[in-house]
């Protein structure tokens, strides 16, 4: 039935005549938005590229730079900060996997087991968003803080030493990243799980697949678009984030975002900040492209 339905829909008559005629209308519709994106996304990225090869002339004031096409900036910037780069990707990667592990069962439960509660639970997933994410992160710093309830509890247990701390650790930074981007993982997962016809799962059961096999062979492949979208929506912002590392970490957990931020504001070294930004963007785009290719989904675009 579901298959038939899908077929009839697919063979439904194509879009009306107006759509087929080439006209000026689409270009007029695109114009203002595209002007905005070109002016405030493409152009800035180009400026960033150009800034990245500038140098400060001898004796010039702080913050004064001239174009000198010094590509060496990239090597300098990268070699001075490769730890932070690596850390960013590792932290973001771990946080993405953790978020997937937490969000998948959650999304599955809402999609298949929630009944009438479905839309209410969905609201609950998004609800924490409305308390500022900074307030929530700061709340974590206090909950996990040295004087906080969690540490006091752990100290009371026999198998932890008395100088245990949770904040200012990589653990805290990764937890913060996981927590903050969890809804970005849950929503796309839910969207693709919800589209699965429960009858396909029943059919799998009917065809001698047990629960686990059904999950592995039917549910997971069908939810792949959600997995891809969710992991990207989590990984990309996590890799560039510096708020969690700033609030929950220590100088040894600095991520590349912290470096870019401080290069810009504290040190006023625009070329290095630009070179780092550009490298980060390129690295993420390459990773994303490879990932989308590999998973065979281009639904996101």
């Amino acid at each position: 039935m579901a298959f038939l339905h899908a077929t009839t829909h697919a063979s439904a008559p194509a879009i009306d005549n107006a759509a087929k005629k080439r006209s000026l209308t689409p270009y007029l519709l695109l114009l203002p938005g595209m002007v905005w994106l070109i002016g405030f996304f493409v152009l800035p990225i180009a400026t960033l590229a150009s800034t990245s090869t500038m140098t400060r002339p001898e004796g010039a004031a702080v913050g004064t730079y001239v174009q000198s096409l010094r590509f060496q900036n990239y090597l300098d910037a990268f070699s001075a900060n490769k730890d932070q780069f690596l850390r960013s990707f590792i932290y973001a990667g771990i946080a993405t996997l953790l978020a997937l592990a937490i969000a998948y069962p959650l999304a599955y439960m809402i999609a298949f087991k929630a009944g009438k509660m479905r839309s209410f639970l969905l609201v609950l997933v998004v609800a924490p968003f409305f308390t500022s994410f900074l307030l929530r992160t700061i709340a974590w710093t206090q909950i996990l803080g040295d004087e906080g309830p969690v540490v006091s509890f752990l100290k009371a247990l026999p198998f932890f030493s008395n100088d245990i701390r949770l904040t200012s650790t990589p653990f805290a930074v990764v937890s913060g990243l996981t927590y903050n981007f969890l809804p970005f993982m849950t929503l796309p997962l839910y969207a693709s799980l919800e589209r699965i016809d429960p009858r396909t799962l029943e059919a799998a059961g009917d065809l001698y697949a047990n629960g686990l096999t059904t999950f592995r062979r039917v549910t997971v492949p069908l939810s792949m678009p959600g997995v891809v979208a969710g992991t990207l929506l989590t990984f990309i912002p996590a890799a560039g984030d510096y708020v969690n590392a700033y609030l929950l970490g220590n100088p040894n957990t600095r991520m590349i975002g912290n470096v870019i931020d401080s290069r810009f504001f504290a040190i006023v070294d625009y070329p290095t900040a630009a070179a780092l930004s550009f490298t980060l963007m390129a690295a993420i785009l390459i990773l994303v492209t490879l990932y989308i290719r590999k998973s065979g989904t281009d639904e996101l675009v």
């Binding site: 077929t7 009839t8 063979s11 008559p13 009306d16 005549n17």
Partner: protein, 376 residues
């Protein structure tokens, strides 16, 4: 038509040498057709035969590659859909989900600038007997109710031509029967030209005064349901419209009103008036209910073996294997109680010459028989 925007043409619908070519195939191929004003006309054919494309061209949703469409003397070939006095009952109805039933029906009236829509809407709701549902939303209606609202929404505009695209396809069998009669009643009451596209031959025969059977973008044959059934002109029509037994034969002689035809060594008679071919090689056709078992009708082909018997209530359907190993379908009325013929029995097969038709012998025996009747 109160609105000057909509063309005020009246009269018969003419399709003149209409062709629609898509990138990779020809959907409608040089089709010419006249539908008399006020008739109930069916375009019948298997999926992909071009019937829906023809309908969409009449509605203005598709532009013909070549040819002309006119109503009376007005050419509407390139008129926008909202400028022609034609309305459509869409497949799956396409009721506007965000509007109430009342507003759905009033939609066309309002667009044409009719000031007081209430009376017209109420009248048409009464016609389809759903006045109590005016304030509901479409998704609160059953399939059959939605179908009637779709019809009401179209005919409230009193179009010259009403197009129905597989209008009963989504309904179950019992409801479909009911709606067939209902649609026919509505058509007679409003007197609008109905053009009904369907793949269901029974539906077409029940409702239409005239049926055009379409195949591969062309009309195979056009006529009243009885005409098409009793005297099909091609193997496709013979097989698509009901069932037929087709047997290869060769004309011996034509004399007077009858011709003598030899089939597998047996001579039979065929009325010349019922022969669609002037050639020697012919296909002899007989409808299953016209074949008699163990009777002495004039055209006899001797004995055969019963290979299958299905009891279907009013009749029993047999498959009988002839001496030349062709399986014929035979329907026998159960007017004398349950029959006592069983699988494996030897029976004689015969029929009256007047019930025979003859087609051009160069056609595929099974044309139109193996097409998917239920496909969409």
């Amino acid at each position: 038509m109160s609105n000057p925007k909509v063309s005020d043409s009246r009269g018969d619908l003419h399709l003149n040498r209409l062709t629609k070519r898509f990138a990779d195939f020809i959907a409608v191929d040089d089709l010419s057709l006249t539908v008399p004003r006020g008739s109930f006309f069916a375009l019948l054919g298997p999926s992909g035969c071009g019937k829906t494309t023809t309908l969409r061209m009449i509605a203005g949703l598709e532009e013909p590659t070549q040819g002309m469409i006119s109503i009376g003397d007005t050419d509407i070939t390139t008129a926008k859909p909202y400028r022609r006095p034609v309305n459509t009952v869409f497949q799956n109805y396409a009721l506007f989900p965000h509007l109430t039933i009342f507003e759905n029906i009033a939609f066309g009236l309002r667009r044409r600038g009719v000031k007081d829509v209430k009376k017209d809407v109420d009248n048409v709701l009464e016609l389809v007997e759903l006045g109590h549902l005016a304030e509901r939303k479409p998704n609160q209606l059953s399939g059959g109710q939605q179908q009637r609202i779709a019809v009401a929404r179209a005919i409230v505009n009193k179009p010259e031509v009403l197009l129905l695209d597989e209008p009963l396809g989504a309904l179950d069998l019992k409801l479909r029967r009911q709606m067939q009669i209902e649609l026919k009643r509505i058509q007679m009451e409003v007197g609008i030209t109905f053009i009904h596209v369907t793949h269901d031959q029974e539906e077409a025969m029940t409702m239409a005064d005239t049926i055009a059977v379409m195949n591969q973008g062309k009309i195979e044959q056009m006529g009243s349901p009885a005409e098409l059934y009793e005297s099909p002109k091609t193997a496709f029509v013979a097989n698509f419209l009901g069932q037929s037994n087709l047997i290869k034969g060769k004309v011996n002689s034509r004399s007077g009103t009858n011709a003598s035809v030899k089939i597998h060594g047996i001579d039979i008679e065929v009325p010349i008036a019922r022969m669609a071919s002037h050639g020697d090689r012919v296909l002899i056709g007989v409808r299953p209910e016209k074949l008699n078992i163990n009777a002495n009708s004039k055209n006899s082909i001797g004995n055969g073996t019963v290979t299958d018997a299905s009891f279907v209530g009013v009749s029993t359907q047999y498959l009988v294997k002839t001496s030349w190993n062709e399986e014929l379908v035979v329907f026998e009325q159960n007017d004398a109680g349950a029959p006592d013929i069983k699988v494996g029995d030897t029976v004689s097969i015969s029929w009256e010459p007047a019930h025979t038709f003859a087609l051009d012998g160069d056609q595929d025996l099974s044309a139109g028989a193996d097409v998917d009747h239920e496909a969409d």
